[in-house]
Symmetry: D2
Subunit: 334 residues, 4 copies
């Protein structure tokens, strides 16, 4: 971390600052120029509150050289983390597709979809039981009953299951869930993240609606600080000024995160666009960008198509996407 | 709500859609043009899932005419809501300033600040006990001990107290808190909002980091749907591409919200800018834009100024701001 | 276009509005509900000023059903436009890679790069002669001399050339340029667009820094309104709050534009990221998303690598990218 | 400017970089830490291409300490610039209101509005002659005829006139214009800015649709680099994800720019919101934030109100706003 001192600040005030920084277990390199004094702070700067420093009367500017995240940082952990979800590996060359309906609706539905997506190559089953909805008047999910149906489907197919948690109080209900999802709206629900740091299950951490990659990695850091290092990041589109698409899928996050962190990176092309026919091209693009996995919504009931699945694929469409994604994985192989 | 049907869709398919909409207690006005069929949906459209409808094969586009929020909507409740915080009124012409330190640090600190801001005209005391921090390595607040110190200050000065809740499990600790704050990062923590709908205390609902006014009002709607209609909205800056300021304070939200909703609207100029010297002009601007109140950080300890208060005013600065805000309130009086 | 009238507006005022709309050659369908009156406007609504209508005292809201662009609209022109750049076809299944240095620097440089990228499969040569720079103190390009060198390279290799225009007064210098590029910062330089509508050369229209797809298509419409319908759109990253990447490459624009317009869509992965090692994954992702072409910066001088080519590939890197892109084109073939 | 070198880079490579930097007339302070080497660059760093440096293989990160703008920088020019528009002063304590219609329509209209706004306290007259419109099908302004009518109004009232230029070729027509406006869409039309650097008239430089304050000041720098230092900056709302308002008026830009630059800062509350009833509160808020002036649209023809003035005030409304703004100027006086 580098702090630049304002022009004309008396040496005694700089001394005070240096002393205070040293009490925080930092070594301070002081370099006096003609116009500027520069302090180089060495040590564990992740613990330094940069805004606080930035706002001191005598400080012109502060810049982090090392990132504020430690456990998630590739610099301190160069090899890829491989997350093991009850036998399905993700990251470090292992690619996985999570598929299933937006919401779990019935035993018949979830088992049928599970079998179909499994046949097409999906290795993890998703399904919403607790649903975060913008409006209190919208369907909020089957809750505990939805979780039971997911477990049924797991028993039938052997696929590990993935579902979203909205409240740490529900953790006892998640005992048989294999991969616990934190949704975009809870990415900075720090109390929930802390609790998830103490469980021994992998976490799928979706990017917040309008969060930077740095904030996202800091949220991973919250979980890792508690001891749980099995985290998969999942890009799902960010908020921009564009209105033709629901969100802007930020695929440049895939190579950038691979540079910054050792954690695996998945992409959810279904939620990003909100439109059925955009899922296929964006799933292929995500694979081409180097994603470690995909999360895709699939629905199986053509008769109810009227009121379902804005962004869901049919099993046939999913089968086509899965096939092409495998070809793209070949094209990008080093 | 208006749905436009795609060109060339057979009448039988439109019939199906109309029938399905009517099962949802909507009256459907059908208007056939040469090129287009338009359906006007009348009834309680807040319950219609607009994305679902939009994504039907046969639908070209869907537009809401009425807003998706009901309880918060000024159309159905034309008079201003006046929120009463243990005797301090906000909204409908009543203006209030909430002031106090970012974090509660000690009994001495909180009582001293409370007395000073009260003398300058603040009528509510703020102080953080549970702190949402982006980094797990930053100070997380005094928690329950902080709440105790706030109550001390309330006893000493008689000022009602305002503090942030991060977890519904902490509600028992909030018994003596007069105004419960929901922070920006929890604006869409729907489980927390539902719990707050069942308590009988006013809520200060901050705008999320990058949330639209519509989403913000939908979050108010979550609380109101539970029966708690005492809500104050608080603008605190939104995320934009600009980096010279920490956030972009959206003051146009003040008149716009006054048009859309009957709920009072406050502004927090301290968090928006993150810089001490921007608080004064932005506090005055917020008052001039018609805000029903201000929330301002004040710190009292010049000796510790080294590591405190990036965005906090001194009591003297606060006194000046409070005075000028009163003059501005005169200038805008109708 | 649909206009919803406010509740309680007297019929006479609605009559006035209807009459005024009819003087604008629109047919108005009037539908009276219990609470709302809805006007459906049929005819050439591209000429209606929607903001003006929206702000009338008696109007609740206005919605376009048809897009405000006409010539660029796929609805009125369902087949893909194939742009012919001096024999190189783009769009409608024809894929092309434009490659070359950011700036033209010398005859030696531009000819060497041209030959190398041609050998790897590029069919168009790019090179900046007039450079738009944020700072007046940065290098502004070789101008007319740069254009001469580009023409040299064209003579040597037979590759058609692409370069940016910043000022309609320079048009005489562009006589031998095969594809005229409009840069992001000039996307809404309407006077320039009008001039380009009157020339008989294809235009490469880059998306503005923070422009919506609708505005982008309206800018294409400006050129087309003048009679020049040979336009290629080029996505190059949009401005968001994220700071780890210079821009956020919006690949969802590719399938969305293919739905909205018949014009070909290229992607420039070099400018979006600003980082050399992100070009490869993003180029592959763009191809997978269905782009009709790519524009990639390539530099050939390893000795000058010190002060060059933040975002440029070496010819070897470009060769690898071009090969993989061809494989990806196979994987997405219908 | 500070450059941090990557860990483990051989000293010889750092030597090369230092030598290269010194050839650019920079003095380089080298500071070797245990893990990091830091280079402090002293001299005229406005000429250093920061992206280029940032992308060198051996460089970890680069940070500007001094801003990239020089002529506009308050550090090198601490006193406020006072711009003199044919006798009307703006900046350094001088406050001015520019008022007038969006478009000049007729002699009768422009003279009537001019007299009315002058009576209410406006000291400069605005009116659009060349209009930048998103759609080629919208009204494009009266052009040269509009300029003639503006001059008529100036002769009648003595008010200096302000109007927008879209093309440097039109400069001869602007001879009698007192303040030349550069619109948001041309803020980075660098060729136009260069031309305006060579004229001897004050320039009103509007902020681009989605431009940072730094880019805005760099555009001012383009004009100043040509020798024209009479520039007024004008905030007019920026693009965000919010859709209830047309733009988000960034009033925090006012105090921030007063810190960064000595140039005067005006605010245009009419274009930001696009809604008549938001102009008054936002005009008052802008004055309270410390703006040096306001630019407000006023229209005078109630009979044509049907198709006019989405965002224009009536002369009566303007009179009320102007009065209250004067009171607010009193309240903020130091």
């Amino acid at each position: 971390m580098i702090a630049v001192i304002k022009q004309g600040v008396p040496a005694a005030q700089v001394d005070n600052l240096v002393n205070w920084l040293e009490t925080q277990n930092l070594t301070v390199h002081r370099s006096e120029g003609v116009y500027t004094t520069i302090l180089g702070l060495v040590g564990d700067t992740t613990q330094v509150d940069i805004e606080l420093l930035q706002n001191l009367e005598i400080v012109e500017s502060v810049t982090r050289i090392s990132e504020p995240f430690k456990s998630a940082n590739r610099k301190f952990h160069p090899e890829d983390t491989v997350v093991d979800v009850s036998g399905v590996k993700i990251g470090g060359g292992h690619f996985a597709i999570v598929a299933g309906p937006c919401s779990v609706e019935s035993e018949e539905q979830i088992i049928a979809v599970a079998k179909q997506v499994q046949a097409s190559g999906a290795t993890l089953l998703r399904g919403g039981a607790f649903k975060p909805r913008t409006s209190p008047y919208d369907f909020q999910g089957l809750a505990a009953d939805g979780l039971k149906l997911l477990k049924e489907a797991k028993r039938e197919t052997g696929m590990p299951i993935v579902t979203e948690i909205m409240n740490a109080n529900h953790l006892p209900l998640f005992e048989d869930v294999d991969l616990v999802q934190v949704g975009a709206r809870n990415m900075q629900n720090f109390d929930l993240l802390k609790e998830l740091g103490h469980i021994r299950k992998p976490i799928l951490l979706k990017r917040g609606l309008a969060n930077t990659m740095k904030e996202w990695l800091m949220s991973a850091e919250y979980i890792m600080a508690g001891g749980n290092e099995q985290i998969i990041l999942c890009e799902r589109g960010i908020r921009t000024y564009e209105t033709y698409t629901r969100n802007t899928l930020d695929l440049s996050a895939v190579p950038m995160l691979h540079e910054l962190t050792h954690l695996p990176v998945m992409v959810d092309p279904s939620h990003a666009s909100g439109i059925n026919w955009m899922v296929k091209p964006m799933a292929m693009a995500a694979a081409a960008a180097g994603a470690d996995g995909l999360m895709i919504e699939v629905h199986n009931d053509p008769k109810r198509a009227l009121c379902d699945g804005a962004q869901s694929l049919t099993p046939e469409q999913f089968d086509d996407v899965a096939k092409r994604v495998r070809q793209i994985r070949e094209a990008i192989k080093e």
